[in-house]
Symmetry: C2
Subunit: 145 residues, 2 copies
DNA sequence: ACAATTAAAGAGTTTTATATCTTTAATAAA
DNA sequence: TTTATTAAAGATATAAAACTCTTTAATTGT
């Protein structure tokens, strides 16, 4: 596995996909999303239900229903998605999994690893979904499988 | 989970523990190691068997047997341990799990994430087990649970 | 040769992550 | 009010990770 769980990868891809596909009040269905980001539809549905319950994205049932994101949703940092799925360990945990690892009692990787974790936090926590999406809309970045 | 799998965390802790405990031809048993790093003994045994088969650490059976590391083992980068257990995805994979993500077809996180991955690679790949161990021996760092 | 000690190997079990399938509830449009 | 459409929810199923237990093999010292 990479840095994030597969579930979290799906979640982030789906969020970017929804952001990208639903300008101005439109919605996108689970089928389109799962095909668009190459993930199992039913599994992704569970993930999006979860994000929806937490208010990270929105959904509507019925004809022309689907998933969408409000301006408020778009202005959230990507870390909201990551923390909802993978928790905060990735931003806070010791590289060796030691509970007592701290500034005063550092593990052999502590200081250097902390710098890396901080950079990751800055990226994921400090950048809004909207701004990642702008690069997508500009064609500067891509979600191609 | 943090950045590394739990199995990988055990492996790294065990390697540091062995390095720390076996100066000059001594050996340390699985019981001592598993207690010292707070991991399940039988499970750790499997992990160390694996590392041993790959030549990352060494072992000897029988009375006064146990695990130890040669000078050559100590001079290896920590990445040998990580790659043996978790593979190379952590150093190479796309943050969103996209197969086609590349410089020419970057995902929304690509460039910033690449910088972070490179820093991680530099740390894990560019530092020998021995040099991490020196900080341990000097009491500058700790493996306390 | 024998007994004791230690890791290696084999064969599970349990837990968590990932994935699928079916049924229900909400909504919109005819 | 009926039908079609969509997400939500519930119930499993499968696979992978984490963990345990038992037996075997190698080595040492007596």
């Amino acid at each position: 596995m990479g840095v994030f769980s597969r579930t979290c990868e799906y979640a982030m891809r789906a969020v970017f996909f929804i952001a990208h596909r639903t300008p101005e009040g439109t919605r996108v269905g689970i089928k389109d999303i799962s095909e668009g980001i190459d993930s199992p539809a039913h599994f992704l549905a569970k993930i999006l239900q979860d994000l929806s319950r937490r208010g990270i994205i929105h959904s509507a049932k019925g004809p022309n229903g689907g998933f969408y994101m409000t301006e408020e949703d778009l202005s959230r940092p990507l870390s909201d998605v990551v923390e909802a799925i993978d928790g905060v360990q990735i931003f806070k945990g010791c590289a060796l999994g030691l509970k007592q690892c701290s500034e005063k009692n550092p593990c052999p990787l502590h200081h250097e690893f902390k710098a890396i974790r901080n950079d990751l936090t800055k990226l994921i926590n400090g950048t809004s979904i909207k701004s990642f999406n702008e690069d997508l809309l500009n064609g500067m970045t891509s979600l191609k499988k």
